[in-house]
């Protein structure tokens, strides 16, 4: 087991390294105007040269990468070229906002999708048809459109929720809940419909297996069959879908945070990428890749725990 984890972490580090090299060189291609972007279009060539030297842009690309890498390995992600704010502290204030949202949405997706998926698989008939239609509708509307519809009705017309985030010091916890409700709903609808579909098919497939018939023929109750056996066997499919959704959500949350003015990772990533603010972009990318690697690892471990067959392979 330990060996498995170490192996996965090792390959994760290789991926991190590869992505860091790739991102750094891609940013290099589009970073030609940094000094001018910072100093404005009236800056003289001398002023531009001073700024470039200050940012280390006069160094060769390989030297710049290794200097970034050694700093990053020492825990120093550098400071933003545009705001002079340390990258680590920008990430530290933004990660909680984004992660609160993503994890709240994930937990709700897991619960709601499982309930709906299982209900559709077990009941079939009209329940199943409603779920199927809902899944198509839910899947076809992008999260940000749902977000805008929710804001227009629930915030602007009815005034129940704030239209944009009010998260700030001194605001009670209820402000957090109110501010995050609409974005979380906008985030989770696609996930719920997609997840419910997968869980429905997985459960149906298990219910048709021979072992279920055997269990039933031995007089084991329907509830026990479903909970102890069927759901357990269907879980890996569900977990895999959830992990893919979480990774996809790291992208979707960028737009949702913009619409709701939430001070999360999204606006930081968008602003930094638009300006080619290399230290910030590198920080955001490294962090995101690390989350993806960890989520995949955790899902694999959970799958192994739920289903011994997976462990063997």
């Amino acid at each position: 087991m330990t060996r498995f984890i170490l192996k996965r972490l090792g390959s994760g580090l290789v991926v991190l390294f590869a992505v860091s090299v790739l991102t750094f060189f891609l940013l290099y291609i589009s970073s030609g105007s940094i000094a001018r972007n910072i100093l404005g279009d009236q800056a003289t060539p001398e002023q531009l040269a001073v700024k470039e030297a200050e940012l280390g842009l006069d160094q060769p690309i390989a030297a710049r990468y290794f200097s970034w890498l050694t700093d990053a390995l020492g825990g120093n992600l550098g400071t933003s070229w545009f705001t002079s704010e340390p990258v680590a502290s920008s990430l530290a204030t933004r990660i909680p906002v984004t992660m609160t949202m993503v994890f709240a949405a994930m937990i709700l997706i897991a619960i709601i999708a499982t309930l709906i998926g299982v209900a559709a698989a077990v009941k079939r008939g009209w329940v199943d048809r409603v779920v199927q239609i809902g899944a198509i509708v839910g899947d076809s509307i992008p999260g940000f459109v749902i977000g805008i519809i929710l804001v227009t009705i629930l915030a602007i017309q009815l005034g129940i929720f704030p239209a944009t985030s009010t998260i700030s010091p001194g605001e009670p916890a209820s402000a957090w809940v109110l501010s995050l409700t609409l974005p979380v709903i906008a985030l989770l609808i696609n996930g719920v419909t997609g997840g419910a579909q997968q869980i429905r098919s997985a459960v149906i497939k298990q219910l048709e297996r021979d072992y279920v018939r055997t269990l039933r023929s031995r007089g084991i109750g329907e509830r026990e069959v479903l909970f102890r056996h069927v759901l357990r066997s269907a879980a890996p499919a569900g977990l895999t879908v959830l992990s893919l959704q979480l990774i996809g959500m790291l992208g979707g949350v960028v737009i949702i945070e913009q619409i709701f003015a939430l001070p999360g990772m999204g606006p930081l990533a968008v602003a930094a990428t638009g300006q080619s603010d290399q230290p910030v972009v590198m920080g955001v990318v490294m962090y995101t890749v690390a989350v993806v690697i960890l989520v995949n690892l955790i899902v694999d471990l959970l799958n192994g725990w739920l289903n011994p067959k997976v462990r063997a392979s």
Binding site: D41, S84, V151, R223
Partner: protein
């Protein structure tokens, strides 16, 4: 199937309870009581500022938050007139190479330090070496000398007709000399301005909160108890925040403006930028056709400016043939409609120039201007000019412009003070004159502006006439900036700024 029903019920209950808990919270900010005079001002800011160090201050949208914390040497009135603020009087020598500035003696900074000539010099010196986004504002200043406790002298390497303007902008913001250059001032401003930051309520990238400074010297510009800048980068978020009452004022665009007007918001519009073609390659280095003034004029005659403005910008702006702004002093009434829509004349000019068979004009695609490019492509095609739209510009475009990668470009450019505009789009030093086109005649006119002192604006009219007659550009229109506010406050637009100065807001009468 007992369980199935239960599961479905559980799912229903869960989603219902979600909706219910959400409903329990009550409205936030949507129902502000009207009637009582407001003492707070909440503004939707388009971007977080980079650093509170006054030397890192910027122009336009990004000046306003600094004005809450910092006074400037000169104060720029809404109509552009320069008035005393921390400077009581200022005067050039005859050669316009030395500016003597008299200062107030009764002002302190929020950390208790006193404002005097030494403090002013410390600020200007700091600005020159801090590598800020507007450091070019003091390029002409070679040194600052303290004459006595309330007088400084600025020595210039060459006359700079925009220097007084700059002293009302980023270069004129005065921070406490004790705080300049420290780490602290980057996150917490220390100035002598009308408001002080409430550090506890301020969250980076979310909001900056300021409260009125108790013993502020200039009560005329301190009209609120509390000022909050709420960072709303996204246009949709700004629209929603304004119409739901979360902010009192913010910058929108013509389309979202319709929604704001539906919610009874008021518009404080002002023209700040012009949009149109810049014909970079006037010497014909890469596109020989552009060397002929008749070709450049033909391009100007090809556009039905009014229709394009109505269709693309919902009529929010003014058609124009000149690149200088109405409030700049260099604006000339006769040039406004110098090139009316006249396809026949355009064709005739092209024929005269030997391009009857057609001319190809290359421009890069510019994100956000796709519609404009499609429309001008159509209108140019009508007179026999083929517009080839290349790949989109990226954030390296300034380098690409400087490297003469583009022979023409459709863009939106700021219309500032004449000398600022000349150095942005016309002089041989200007970024947007990458082929460094000039003539002795034009250079003489530019020199006259530089040495013109108080007459610089009027002298710049000659530069304007020259570049319009020579058709260096094909301007289409000046664009309205759509700044909206609610009925709780009054807002006076500020010339050349999409977002007004902080002094221009007051509680509604």
């Amino acid at each position: 199937m007992k369980f199935g029903l239960k599961a479905a019920a559980a799912a229903l209950i869960l989603s219902a309870s979600l909706a219910l808990t959400a409903c329990g919270g009550g409205a936030s900010g949507a129902n502000n009581a009207a009637g009582a005079k407001t003492t707070t001002l909440t503004l939707g800011a388009v971007q977080e500022i980079r650093s509170w160090d006054p030397a890192q201050a910027h122009v336009g949208h990004f000046l306003q938050p600094y004005q809450a914390a910092y006074d400037s040497l000169l104060l720029r009135e809404p109509d552009g007139k320069l008035s005393p603020m921390l400077a009581t009087a200022w005067k050039y020598n005859d050669a316009n190479t030395k500016l003597t500035v008299d200062l107030r003696t009764d002002v302190t900074f929020s950390d208790g330090a006193k404002f005097d000539a030494d403090a002013a010099k410390a600020n200007l010196d700091h600005f020159k070496k801090a590598n800020g986004p507007q450091m070019a504002q003091l390029t002409a200043v070679s040194g600052v000398r303290v004459v006595d406790a309330d007088t400084i002298e600025l020595d210039l390497t060459a006359p700079d007709p925009s220097l007084e303007f700059y002293l009302s902008q980023a270069a004129g913001l005065m921070g406490s000399p004790k705080a300049l250059g420290t780490e602290g001032i980057k996150t917490e401003p220390v100035g002598s301005g009308p408001y002080v930051m409430d550090k506890a309520a301020t969250v980076k990238d979310s909001q900056s909160v300021f409260t009125a400074r108790k013993d502020y010297w200039n009560k005329d510009v301190q009209k609120f108890e509390k000022v909050t800048f709420k960072i709303l980068v996204d246009l949709t978020a700004r629209t929603n925040a304004l119409v739901s009452g979360q902010v009192d004022a913010t910058l929108l665009d013509p389309k979202t403006g319709k929604q704001a007007e539906g919610a009874k918001m008021k518009l404080a519009a002002t023209e700040v930028d012009w949009q149109g073609l810049t014909l970079f390659d006037r010497d014909g280095a890469k596109n020989p056709g552009l060397k002929d003034v008749r070709v450049r004029q033909a391009i100007n005659y090809a556009f039905d400016r009014k229709t394009i403005l109505d269709q693309v910008m919902l009529g929010q702006g003014t058609p124009t043939s000149q690149p200088f702004g109405k409030a700049s002093g260099a604006w000339v009434e006769e040039l406004e409609n110098k090139y009316p829509y006249d396809p026949a004349k355009a064709k005739a000019l092209l024929k005269e120039a030997g391009y009857e068979a057609g001319l190809v004009l290359q421009v890069p695609s510019v994100p956000g201007f796709e519609t404009q490019l499609a429309v001008i492509k159509q209108q140019l095609a009508d007179v026999g000019v083929t517009l080839e739209v290349g790949s989109a510009i990226t954030n390296t475009y300034t380098t690409d412009v400087a490297a003469q990668k583009f022979t023409s470009m459709y863009f939106s450019l700021f219309q500032g003070e004449p000398w600022v505009a000349i150095n942005q789009i016309i002089s041989t030093k200007a970024l947007y004159n990458p082929f460094k086109t000039t003539t002795p005649e034009l250079q003489a006119k530019i020199d006259a502006v530089q040495n013109g002192g108080k007459d610089a604006g009027k002298l710049a009219q000659e530069v304007n006439k020259y570049v319009v007659e020579q058709a260096w550009f094909a301007p289409l229109f000046r664009v309205n900036q759509m700044y909206y506010h609610n009925a709780k406050i009054d807002v006076t637009p500020q010339i050349q700024m999409a977002v007004p100065s902080i002094y221009n807001y007051s509680p509604a009468k």
